[in-house]
């Protein structure tokens, strides 16, 4: 019984995890539809390394727990110090961590670098419990907004100041409808009207908090035309769970028509 308990230790965990992985692996990452494949590669490498360490340490745990059970005549070693061992496992772990760190920072740098000059600009403004989408129009400049001018009744969800010349050609979409052209880099300017939301595109490996008082930009390139979901990832109140938007990635030549149709 004691032997069994010892063995069960690491093995139970290992078996559980292997079975679970085989069973659940069909629900893996949502299919990738953007250019952020580096994130998926990073996940795969991390899975491989941490998976191997997981298996190795659990096997050791199981083996030790089984092998070194108390038994008549068994003795324990009076062995409690080995500087060389300590240095080895400290330095090896540190080296692996530096590998991960270097890779992660390189990836982070790529994601955070300035967007290409031809990137399309779009603004997404979170509010309880909807996403407001605005395009800057031909001038490429967003018009001024003012909290006092917010008027949902007249579809002015974000308080656009129509007296501002830059606002003249701004396009405010119906709520929760975001259209993006396929294959073109897009800069998303993310804001919030009230509390913190988080603009999450599961299929695009994009997540950026909408922080009240700040306008934060993130950019990426949608790769495959289709209809996707926008989720809110930060608890924003009782309607958080239904703060669901739609992202339509369309062929570039049909983009203007699709936006016009949505505005009808």
């Amino acid at each position: 019984m004691a032997k069994l308990q010892g063995l069960l230790f690491g093995l139970a965990t290992l078996v559980l995890v292997v079975v679970a992985t085989a069973f659940f692996a069909k629900e893996w990452l949502p299919p990738l539809k953007s250019d952020r494949i580096a994130i998926d590669h990073g996940i795969a490498v991390t899975l491989l390394v941490t998976g191997l360490v997981f298996i190795a340490t659990n096997l050791l745990l199981a083996f030790f727990a089984w092998r070194y059970q108390d038994a008549p005549g068994a003795t324990a070693a009076y062995w409690h110090h080995n500087a060389k061992l300590e240095w080895i496992w400290t330095l090896v772990t540190a080296a692996i961590m530096f590998g991960f760190l270097f890779n992660a920072l390189a990836m982070w740098g790529q994601l955070q670098k300035a967007p290409p000059a031809d990137a399309m600009l779009v603004e997404v403004v979170g509010q309880q419990f909807a996403w407001n989408v605005r395009y800057p129009g031909k001038d490429g400049i967003f018009g001024r907004t003012d909290a006092k001018l917010v008027d949902p009744g007249n579809l002015n969800f974000i308080g656009l100041d129509k007296t501002d010349p830059n606002a003249a050609d701004d396009v405010i979409m119906p709520q929760n409808q975001l259209y993006l052209p396929e294959g073109l880099p897009v800069r998303v300017r993310i804001r919030s009207l009230d509390v913190i939301h988080s603009f999450f595109l599961p299929n695009f490996r994009v997540k950026q908090d909408a922080m009240p008082g700040m306008a934060v930009e993130t950019w990426f390139t949608p790769k495959v035309a289709g209809d996707y979901e926008i989720a809110c990832a930060e608890h924003c109140g009782l309607g958080h769970y239904r703060m669901r938007g739609q992202l339509h990635v369309v062929k570039p030549d049909g983009f203007d028509a699709a936006v016009a149709a949505a505005l009808e």
Binding site: G10, Y78, T93, A147, P202, P212, G213
Partner: protein, 597 residues
């Protein structure tokens, strides 16, 4: 508990006389052991509540489409058998708050810290017994305030245990929790005040009241953990105190620390300007990350001290283990930003915090390797405390490895605020802390009540808990990978989460089994406290100083003089010694390194 008198009467050379009346002995006690048990039992009660909240959360996530008319008695929670979304927000907010602060900080630190520190340093009591009693009687009102918030006004706080403003700062942002959030703040202030008094006591007692011969480098790992935890608490909690009071002012007195200009809430322009919600996140996580280690370090200490006693072998790499704890504690102050990678703070800051985060994995790995080396060529006796100690090692490995996924800034973009994070911290922080507490309970039970816990029942409880724990929290990694967000009242509103419902149901059933298994523990704890087998002074043949006291120790802990310490508490299987352990108080120069530790 009645045995305490016998030994107390024998106490010599102790200035303070044992109180005789029930109320001063067991209610407003200044005795560290009574206070420890008071904290522990209160924390257990809070765990029961927080656990029930979790069960209700799980019920909703598995079957949001079903109605439960039998739950209509929760008038604020259910209408016609359907859960209200705002109640769901209260559930996860209060589950997190109570578990993190009122259970998993309280039971290991305030409970076992008070119980064990004087016994392990060789002192009659804590340095400031009155402050210690006051600390508990400050903690209890905190619990009452936090719990009462469910019954006041429209209900408890609903902004998440992190209480991010503006959601938590604007009283109309979460309808139905106007008073709840305020009571949350008041409850937290009570908690922090109590924890600060405890921390002062811990640091002073450990630094100044160690018995003759007990140098810092002869301390058991539990003492090291308690010392570091107290320092972490004293340095980090003030940030949350300040932030909480600022939040209180934002809510009630018109300040705008955390509320920026130009907000519009349900059609109304918000009359605040100039604040920054990011400031709260920095202050909160400046506490929040050290807090994670406040939960974990005691469990890591218990694990080492329990492991040696059941391996009959000295701790491997003591200096490395102490060094790793010091490194973890130091680094815990420079990693808080990894909770904020996608918050909109400067990406360069994100890089700096990623460095700290990846670095902290190194001492954590060192701890694991040293535990494994302790097991190697040992002689393992599988009693309940040892099972829990090995459970901590297992959870520490599983939860630690997923930390490497989350610490990589770029990968965190996908994982942030998903169930992957929930899986990670339930395994490493909550799980390790919980298992550590269970292990410590079984191990030091004789010093609490002078009796043994039932070993068979303890083992059954362990295996149910261990397996159900993995079945509950491991699958959360998969739904996290699939993008399942946290804090979602009804995940299946989203197309991409619809196919995850079977996994959520599996998790829920596992969680129910996990919850139900805890009944075994409650039975064992209370039955054993009154009816358990009488314990000898040193039932595990352990080497630590605390095992030289009677079980249970009386008022003043040692009936005679406080013993002197001659070695570290890890001398097991010393070559040439007559028994397979040498008590810390044994002056005999045996073994190759005896006395040098």
């Amino acid at each position: 508990m009645a045995h305490a008198e016998t030994h107390a009467a024998e106490a010599h050379g102790h200035a303070d006389h044992a109180p005789q009346s029930f109320i001063w002995k067991y209610v407003f006690s200044k005795d560290h052991k009574v206070i420890g048990i008071q904290y522990y039992v209160t924390a257990m009660f809070m765990a029961l509540i927080a656990g029930l909240l979790a069960m209700t959360i799980r019920l909703q996530l598995a079957w949001p489409e079903k109605t439960f008319p039998s739950l209509n008695f929760l008038t604020k929670g259910y209408t016609d058998g359907v859960m209200n979304p705002e109640f769901y927000a209260m559930l996860f907010t209060m589950h997190g708050t109570i578990m993190v602060f009122f259970v998993l900080s309280t039971a290991p630190v305030s409970g076992f810290g008070n119980m064990l520190i004087p016994l392990q340093v060789g002192a009659r009591d804590m340095a400031f017994p009155f402050l210690n009693g006051l600390s508990f009687w400050t903690f209890l009102p905190g619990c009452i305030v936090i719990l009462s918030s469910f019954f006041v006004g429209a209900g408890a706080a609903a902004g998440g245990w992190t209480s991010y403003p503006p959601l938590s700062a604007l009283r109309s942002a979460v309808p139905g929790s106007e008073m709840g959030q305020t009571l949350w703040i008041i409850g937290m202030v009570f908690f922090i005040a109590s924890f600060t008094m405890g921390g002062l006591n811990f640091v002073t007692t450990i630094l100044n009241m160690r018995t003759k011969g007990l140098s810092m480098m002869r301390m058991p790992m539990t003492l090291w953990a308690m010392f570091l935890v107290a320092v972490l608490g004293l340095l980090s909690f003030p940030a949350l105190t300040a932030a909480s009071l600022m939040l209180l002012f934002d809510r009630h007195f018109g300040t705008s620390f955390f509320i920026p200009s130009g907000l519009v809430l349900s059609g109304q322009v918000v009359n605040h300007q100039g604040g920054s919600p990011l400031l709260w996140q920095h202050l909160f996580w400046f506490l929040g990350h050290p807090e994670v280690y406040i939960l974990m370090l005691p469990a890591l200490g218990f694990t080492s001290d329990i492991m040696v006693a059941f391996c009959r072998k000295p701790i491997f790499g003591y200096k490395a283990m102490v060094g790793a704890m010091l490194a973890i504690s130091g680094l815990s102050f420079v990693v808080w930003g990894h909770h904020m990678f996608v918050s909109g703070m400067s990406p360069y800051l994100g890089m700096a915090f990623a460095v700290g985060t990846m670095l902290i994995a190194v001492p954590s790995a060192v701890k694991t390797f040293n535990w494994l080396a302790t097991l190697w060529r040992s002689r393992i006796i599988f009693k309940t405390p040892m099972l829990w100690a090995m459970g901590v090692v297992s959870l520490f490995i599983s939860g630690g490895l997923s930390g490497i996924w989350l610490g990589q800034t770029a990968l965190d973009i996908h994982f942030h605020d998903t169930y992957f994070v929930v899986a990670h911290f339930h395994l490493i922080m909550a799980g390790a802390a919980l298992f550590g507490v269970f292990g410590a309970t079984a191990f030091w039970f004789p010093k609490m009540f002078g009796r043994m816990m039932n070993d068979t029942l303890g083992k059954i409880h362990f295996w149910f808990t261990f397996l159900a724990y993995y079945c509950t929290f491991f699958p959360m990694h998969y739904i996290g990978l699939a993008g399942h967000m946290r804090r979602i009242y009804d995940p299946y509103q989203y197309e991409f989460l619809k196919n995850l419902q079977p996994i959520n149901q599996f998790i829920t059933i596992s969680a129910f089994i996990l919850g139900a298994s805890q009944i075994l523990f409650f039975i064992n704890y209370f039955w054993s406290a009154f009816r358990g087998e009488k314990a000898t002074d040193n039932p595990w043949n352990a080497a630590g100083l605390e095992w030289t006291t009677p079980s249970p120790p009386g008022h003043g802990n040692w009936p005679g003089e406080i013993p002197e310490v001659h070695r570290w508490p890890f001398d097991y299987s010393v070559p040439g010694a007559e028994k397979d352990f040498v008590l810390q108080t044994d002056p005999a120069p045996i073994g190759d390194k005896a006395g040098s530790h």
